[in-house]
Symmetry: C2
Subunit: 462 residues, 2 copies
């Protein structure tokens, strides 16, 4: 009874898959404040040109540089596991597989793109990266990557998280990064907020503004900004997950996958596993592909597909995406990585076109799923990942009712060893469910009136 499948280093995928080449409608460009498309040159102060080229590329397959692979080899190819014991506990005829991204040194899938981004910046002659982090997973991953590649790294961490999760800061410092609470007096954006609200807990929106400002105002011109999700090139770098998984399923003798599941905050881990399977779906395979979001931040299930800003301070261009409005502040659930008002344009458009079928779940169901997973499969998963597992369990139960041998695969995006306070709250009955209702969504969206609408074929053929 085989439990997991490894690939040799020589079997690692050598190219990333760019789904932009295969979507039925062309991807809509980001827009500037004037409503006109943002050109690559306009992004040059923020990102290095080699990553901007990836961001707008229409090439279906993009080579993974050898220098990136050499770092990914430290933990990749990651194992694919068969969840025998979860299946047994559920009494399901479904065969459940998971891709274990928790084995990376930073504990999640985030280093897949952190390493690539740091490498491209280094190639371009950049000396330092600035970024923001909420709960800390992304900041840790970028600190890790910069350490190995030889770049300075500065992380603006949302102040409330900075204070509540001091160990995340220590992780980043151990890898040599600087981590400061946001808002900070170091940027104009930060000072403006501190002047008005000296006691603010901070927000991802403010931290993004500070990190972008830190990058573009460096007088040496050698600092750039780095983002951990949402953008096309970030999702591209994560497709190594799904590409490995397909090879591993083949090795273990699975010919056909029925259901692909990933949690979705900005969209990167979901995209990483699912885009290579979406390629099969585009070419005719019947696959149910499900991004799972929190009911308290139902971007894909209740937000419209519109042009919106990526941050509260409107420092970013307008992106074509599902959004709850750039000033929407989600409920304080424990899955901090899923608390984002927007969603990756590539995932958003895939939903509009019918490739993906999103679901929203309450956090108590998620932690119940996480506890069952820990007690059967043994891994304590991140609160974000628990959203995927909750839907896996629903689908496995459906397969039992239908008596069908469904093949289900999900992305175990990270472990929860740095997030045990969420488990503590659940075990002691302190977790509160919250579902965002449509009228609240409509209210949040009022501010977006007058912004342009993307033009995408909304009648998906799948």
């Amino acid at each position: 009874m085989q439990t997991k499948v490894f690939l040799k280093e020589s079997e690692i995928p050598k190219k990333w898959y760019n789904i932009a080449a295969d979507l039925p409608s062309p991807l809509q460009p980001p827009l500037g404040p004037d409503g006109k498309p943002v050109s690559p040159d306009m992004l040059a102060p923020v990102f290095p040109m080699n990553l901007i080229e990836q961001e707008v590329s229409q090439e279906r397959w993009i080579d993974i540089p050898e220098g990136v692979l050499e770092i990914l080899y430290r933990w990749r190819p990651s194992p694919l596991h068969r969840a025998h014991h979860l299946e047994k506990a559920l009494g399901t005829p479904a065969r459940i597989y998971y891709k274990n991204e928790s084995v990376s040194p930073a504990g999640s899938h985030k280093p897949n793109t952190a390493v690539a981004q740091a490498w491209y910046n280094k190639q371009f002659g950049i000396k330092k990266l600035a970024t923001e982090t909420g709960a800390g997973q992304w900041g840790s991953a970028l600190a890790f990557a910069c350490s190995l590649i030889g770049l300075e790294c500065k992380v603006f961490m949302v102040r409330i998280s900075f204070e509540q999760k001091p160990m995340r800061k220590v992780m980043m410092q151990t890898w040599g990064a600087t981590c400061i609470p946001s808002p900070s007096p170091e940027t104009k954006a930060g000072r403006d907020v501190l002047e008005k609200h000296p006691d603010t807990p901070g927000s991802l929106g403010i931290a993004i503004s500070e990190a972008v400002e830190a990058a573009v105002t460096d007088p040496t011109g050698q600092t750039r900004y780095s983002l951990g999700s949402v953008l096309n090139h970030v999702l591209l770098h994560q497709t190594i997950i799904g590409l490995e998984a397909k090879k591993q399923l083949k090795k273990i003798g699975e010919k056909k996958v029925d259901i692909v599941i990933g949690c979705a905050g900005g969209g990167s881990n979901f995209a990483g596993l699912s885009f290579p399977f979406a390629n099969d779906k585009i070419h005719g395979a019947a696959i149910d592909i499900i991004p799972v979001e929190p009911a308290s931040c139902p971007t894909l299930t209740k937000g419209p597909f519109i042009y919106d800003h990526g941050d509260i301070a409107k420092m970013t261009p307008l992106l074509p995406m599902h959004s709850l409005g750039h000033s929407f502040v989600p409920d304080s659930i424990h899955a901090g990585g899923l608390r984002y008002h927007g969603m990756a344009p590539l995932v958003s458009q895939g939903v509009v076109e019918g490739l993906f079928r999103p679901m929203a779940i309450q956090q108590n169901e998620c932690f119940r799923a996480a506890l069952l997973f820990a007690k059967t499969e043994g891994i304590i998963i991140a609160p974000e990942t628990s959203h995927a597992v909750a839907v896996v369990i629903r689908k496995a139960k459906e397969a039992k009712e239908e008596g069908k041998e469904k093949v289900i695969i999900f992305n175990l995006s990270g472990h929860g060893l740095m997030d045990l306070n969420g488990y503590d709250a659940f075990l002691h009955g302190r977790l509160v469910d919250h579902e965002l209702h449509q009228d609240e969504v409509d209210a949040a969206l009022c501010e977006l009136k007058g912004l342009p609408l993307p033009t995408v074929n909304r009648t998906g053929k799948w």
Copy 2:
């Protein structure tokens, strides 16, 4: 440039290696309070008979049950890594390898024996295990194993750790275990201490006494005690580490190992990697095998080889081991897993016989090594593991000076994500070194006068 070597599940070792069969002098038996050898029957209230049989076995190879392997497969065989980037940073001609035990769901090597012990207890009809834990690694590992195998688990956690590391408790609770601070009012041993010292921070010695009492006083007779290191059967279960490593070194083309290194607290992770290599040494191979301990708890380098108790309350039999005296309280270094007054009898005797050559290291050198490791190899290691890495770095530098292509392997016994406060202290210059001097050792040993001495050939031939 290959970075790591996996084995297939089918290549996992099917037998453990029992070094007791190969030591030049026979292993000395544990003694009772009367100075007479303890018979297996006398241990029956504490351990199940199938584990007692392993404890006293002289068989060289012992089958790993299929039921144990099926659980180990969740993360084993563990990867063997080549530390290319550490080598490069050191400019050494040495080739450095490490066995990565941090990939287990509990984050360390401890589940290797936790799973085996839980499985044998289950086979013997036991319903519940009681144990103690200091920093929490062992308690987490046993909670994990009991959850998967279907046993109740109760962990007495040293009170100061229970309060300082609340997330370790949450890990255990997530896996369904009960974790209470020790001393507790639940046992006579605990009540006695609380009566005299209501504000005591607790100690491993007290916690062991409580766990043993909880096991032997269960009126149903269905509870047993479980220990995470020191005993012969515990070390036996860890030898899967070294047996896998030898297969992996062969796969990568290494014919000969020069230096084997592991940190040593009770001795189990050191033994797990090194005993299979010690077998080669016994048969003539020239290998330097180094257990590394903290300078503040120099059991092997400064303690004598004597008969001593395993706990302060003298609940355990007398064991033949290197010891600093059963009431010695080591300095509060961050490597909590290395703060033990004694050492596994098998490791102790191997030192006396010249098989192993122990070293003691200060904690600032260890954390400097850990930081270099994090910045080059990317993994944040446990403070315990940093002791091994500090000696790896010394040996790699010696190889550079000598211009020799030495092959070095060490055991990466666990990650440090639950122990980041140690890194925090180091990064902020708050770590204090402390070396225990011989006169302090001699004073601590006064209490042992009159205890019997083991009879072992002290003139090793290696």
